[in-house]
């Protein structure tokens, strides 16, 4: 049975393209043009993953409202923001509301598909007991690949998919410097250098929130970042 995905997007052409493309990837996709329409549909049946635009028709923050409503109903439902807005503030607001990732609209369909499958895989993995072989442990860090879950000193670090992939890229070869292009490629995003910097900054903050002495991510100026071996 194909996985069900909902796309809430007010721009019909984009919606049609995404619906078509994701359908081709084998998902059961439904598009909604506005928040009320989506909420009415979600009241009947929740999809397994939701992709939301922030500005919905007349409601410039409709996507945020929808995300908040969905998160209260389903704590684990993967939610992706896909929007034309790229300011840090919007990113932070979106993530604080519990979205699993935040993508700008210049992401390619392949990158989007990769995220969707990763998120769905994680949902599946969370239902099954943890598999030992997919776990990378490095010092206090424990990275469960399938569940896309990272713990530090046993405490879970709430990372988005993009952030998880970045950490994963660095942790796989501790001590190796990963430049920004590599991080971008691995994290399936196309962003500029400044955005990578702010991603790393956010990741650091999330670790610091758990452990004030965290300094496992090294900046190698002019090159990139590495996980301290």
């Amino acid at each position: 049975m194909p996985r069900s995905i909902a796309i809430v997007e007010d721009e019909p052409l984009i919606r049609a393209n995404y619906v078509e493309a994701l359908t081709r990837f084998g998902y059961e996709v439904r598009g909604y043009a506005s928040r009320p329409e989506a909420e009415t549909a979600f009241a009947l049946r929740l999809p397994e993953l939701v992709i939301i635009d922030i500005g919905l028709g007349d409601e410039p923050e409709g996507g945020f409202d929808l995300c908040r409503a969905l998160r209260t109903r389903a704590a684990t439902l993967p939610i992706l923001f896909l929007t034309a807005r790229d300011s840090d503030l919007d990113v932070i607001s979106g993530l604080r509301l519990g979205a699993d990732d935040y993508l700008t609209k210049d992401v390619s369909l392949h990158q989007l598909a990769a995220r969707i499958s990763a998120l769905l895989r994680r949902m599946d993995a969370l239902r099954k007991p943890a598999e030992a072989e997919s776990v990378i442990a490095h010092g206090p860090l424990k990275l469960e690949q399938e569940r896309m879950r990272i713990t530090w000193n046993g405490e879970e670090v709430p990372l988005t998919v993009t952030e998880f992939w970045m950490v994963h890229t660095m942790v796989r070869f501790p001590g190796h410097v990963k430049n920004r292009d590599q991080l971008m490629r691995e994290a399936q995003v196309v962003v500029d250098d400044a955005t990578i910097t702010s991603h790393i900054k956010r990741i650091r903050k999330k670790f610091l929130a758990i452990d004030a002495d965290f300094d496992a991510i090294d900046t190698v100026h002019g090159v990139g970042y590495r996980w301290r071996p």
Binding site: A84, S87, L89, V190, D192, T219
Partner: protein, 679 residues
């Protein structure tokens, strides 16, 4: 000329105040004078009435002969030498056309009564009085009267020398029987000098001068002229009634002094009232008393008074005048008024008063005026100065505020001062503020235009890209696929452009929100330089970084990013065989980061604007390269400014390259962080 000076100049208009005051004081002085004149005239009138009431011996109207008082006796010798003092007062009694034909002078001393007659007569006919020829000779018939009695004498002489006058008429009434005198001659005429005892002094005098000519005699006749003299009795009466500290003179209808009392020298006032100072006298004389037109000759006591005031009084109209007194600053008030008895003008009274009180009074007023007006002038000047200062300070504040409000890059920062005040400057400030707000809104619009535009372009771009993605999964011919590839290429480039357009605002936000940390700038620069080497090859990258730590508080990522931009910029302008030099120097208040490269020099016009947004020196981006919107150096500047420094670019002195300089001082430490650190 500054506003303050202009207002001070305007304050000079206050000088009208002392001028007006001066006019006022003068007016007051005129009034005071008029009052004094009235008073003196009134007291003169009272004096005249008193004299009339006591039946003082006032002179009869009409012509008279004046008998001068003598201190010393005269030598009767026919020569006028010892009459010298009096000859000025000789009465010219000749005919109207030749008044000096007969000059008569009378005098008396304690014992004698003297007569000097000077006759101009170039054609002499001489005969003695007793000669029968005397009727054809030049002669004088002198007739003296005393009481009812009258006696005539014939005076003639054939030769100079003593003469005996031949008396005529019988009754003598105490008049001498004969008159002895001296007769002297010269080319112009002859002189008769005679005397008689004071006791026999006549009261009237008649005289006939007969100048015998060939065909006809010319005759000068004086009929019964009364004799007038200074009268001690009248003087005593005058003294009795005259006001104090006043000189009073009784003058006959022809100006002869009949009586005098009082002294002009300052009266009793000088003991009680202070004398005005020299300055006061001077200022009175030159500033207040404008016209002292009184006759100067009145000052002296002369037998005959010749003054316009007197003649006016003698015509029946009292007059008053002022003249300068003997003392410096003194003024003398002169009042002359007719002395009337039963409707006849019998003479005139001349009263004089020295006035020091008036100068004192007006001078005090003047001094007070000067003080008050100086004080007012200073006060007004001070107030105006303060006001002008306040005004210009406000205007300067407004100007500075307006200048400061518009930053170099066109952003509006802060508000114009004075917008809350209600006056015209407030209006001006509000207009400024409106203007600046409009400019600010426009600048903001321009600044955000790129990012707004890029935001708006995201959606259509997403449509194109997702459509292309979808198209890939449809079977299309290989010919058509080429077009898809081209479309994708175009879309990618468009994506770059859109991203670059929003980059500046994103960078601005990122830079503004960056947190500071303590780090070693030398290590960052060294790391960057190492990373650049492979990228720059085959260009040479030199790195001159001090071995010791260069501590800095800031965001190392941002500095590395700025360095990236500078390096990127340098690399693109450096020829393949060229060099790039990155150097770091620790300076007193921070660090100096320099990136120099070999390559073309900067155009002079661009040097100041290089670090502005959307300024690029590059020509159109070549195919396949990322578009260049000139944001790189703008980001560099923002980073430098975030670290309390500045960015500059200049050509190398050697002329073969360009150097970019970043001055970094460090981010301001946030107080929250500092306290956390302290704990």
């Amino acid at each position: 000329m500054s506003l303050r000076r202009k207002l001070l100049l305007v304050a000079l208009a206050m000088l009208a105040l002392p001028w007006a005051g001066w006019q006022f004081v003068r007016q007051m002085e005129v009034l005071l004078r008029q009052g004094q004149e009235q008073t003196l005239i009134a007291s003169g009138k009272a004096l005249a009435r008193s004299l009339a009431a006591i039946n003082a011996e006032l002179p009869q109207p009409g012509a008279a002969l004046y008998v001068h008082e003598l201190e010393t006796p005269l030598q009767v010798d026919g020569y006028a030498d010892d009459w010298l003092d009096l000859r000025g007062y000789s009465q010219n009694l000749g005919p109207v056309q030749d008044a000096q034909k007969l000059k008569l002078t009378l005098a008396e001393d304690a014992a004698w009564f003297y007569l000097l007659a000077e006759v101009r007569d170039a054609t002499r006919r001489r005969a003695d009085a007793r000669d029968g020829q005397v009727q054809q000779a030049d002669r004088i018939e002198l007739s003296l009267g005393r009481g009812e009695g009258e006696r005539s004498y014939l005076i003639a002489s054939a030769a100079p020398g003593s003469f005996d006058a031949v008396p005529r008429g019988a009754d003598g009434a105490g008049l001498p029987v004969s008159l002895n005198g001296e007769w002297q001659e010269d080319a112009a005429g002859y002189r008769i000098e005679l005397r008689l005892p004071r006791a026999q002094r006549p009261e009237r005098l008649s005289l006939r001068l007969i100048d015998a000519g060939g065909s006809s005699d010319s005759v000068v006749t004086l009929e019964r002229l009364p004799l007038l003299a200074y009268s001690a009795t009248l003087a005593a009466e005058l003294a009795q009634f005259a006001p104090e500290s006043t000189r009073a003179r009784l003058i006959s209808g022809e100006g002869w002094l009949l009586a005098e009392s009082g002294e002009l020298a300052a009266g009793p006032a000088d003991t009680t009232t202070p004398q005005p100072s020299a300055l006061a006298r001077w200022s009175y004389r030159w500033l207040i008393a404008p016209s002292l037109q009184g006759t100067e000759s009145l000052a002296q006591s002369r037998p005959r008074v010749d003054a316009a005031e007197l003649w006016q009084a003698l015509s029946g109209v009292p007059s008053a005048s002022w003249r300068a007194g003997a003392g410096q600053g003194d003024v003398v008030l002169v009042a002359a008024l007719p002395l009337q008895l039963r409707g006849e003008i019998r003479g005139a009274l001349v009263l004089e008063q020295v006035n020091t009180a008036l100068p004192l009074l007006t001078d005090a007023a003047l001094q007070r005026l000067a003080l008050v007006s100086i004080a007012a002038l200073l006060l007004a000047g001070g107030v105006l100065f303060v006001f002008a200062t306040w005004l210009s300070v406000r205007i300067r504040r407004l100007r500075d505020g307006a200048e400061r409000a518009l930053a170099a890059d066109g952003r509006i920062q802060g508000r114009v001062p004075l917008t809350d005040t209600r006056d015209e400057l407030g209006d001006l400030a509000r207009s400024f503020q409106q203007l600046l707000d409009a400019v600010g809104a426009y600048t903001d619009y321009l600044r955000t235009l790129a990012s707004k535009l890029s935001h708006e372009l995201h959606t259509p771009l997403a449509i194109v890209k997702s459509s292309l993605d979808n198209l890939e999964h449809h079977p299309i011919s290989s010919d058509a696929r080429a077009y898809v590839v081209r479309a994708r290429d175009g879309a990618d480039r468009l994506t770059h452009i859109v991203r670059a357009m929003s980059e500046s605002s994103r960078m601005e936000r990122a830079i503004a929100s960056a947190d500071g940390e303590d780090f070693d700038l030398a290590e960052v620069v060294r790391g960057c330089a190492d990373a650049y080497r492979p990228l720059a090859a085959p260009r040479r990258v030199d790195c001159e970084v001090p071995a010791q730590r260069v501590p800095m508080h800031g965001a190392p990522e941002l500095i590395a990013q700025a360095l990236d931009k500078l390096f990127d910029n340098a690399r693109s302008f450096t020829p393949e065989s060229g060099w790039i030099r990155i150097s770091l120097d620790s300076v007193a208040d921070g660090a100096l980061l320099r990136v120099a490269n070999q390559g073309p020099e900067l155009p002079l016009a661009m040097q100041g604007r290089l670090f502005d947004s959307l300024v690029s020196l590059r020509e159109g981006a070549s195919r396949g390269e990322a578009p260049h919107l000139g944001l790189g150096l703008y980001v560099v500047r923002l980073v430098a400014e975030r670290h309390g420094g500045s960015a500059a670019a200049h050509n190398l002195a050697s002329g073969d390259g360009v150097e970019f300089t970043l001055r970094l001082r460090g981010m301001p430490r946030e107080p929250v962080l500092a306290t956390r650190r302290m704990r």
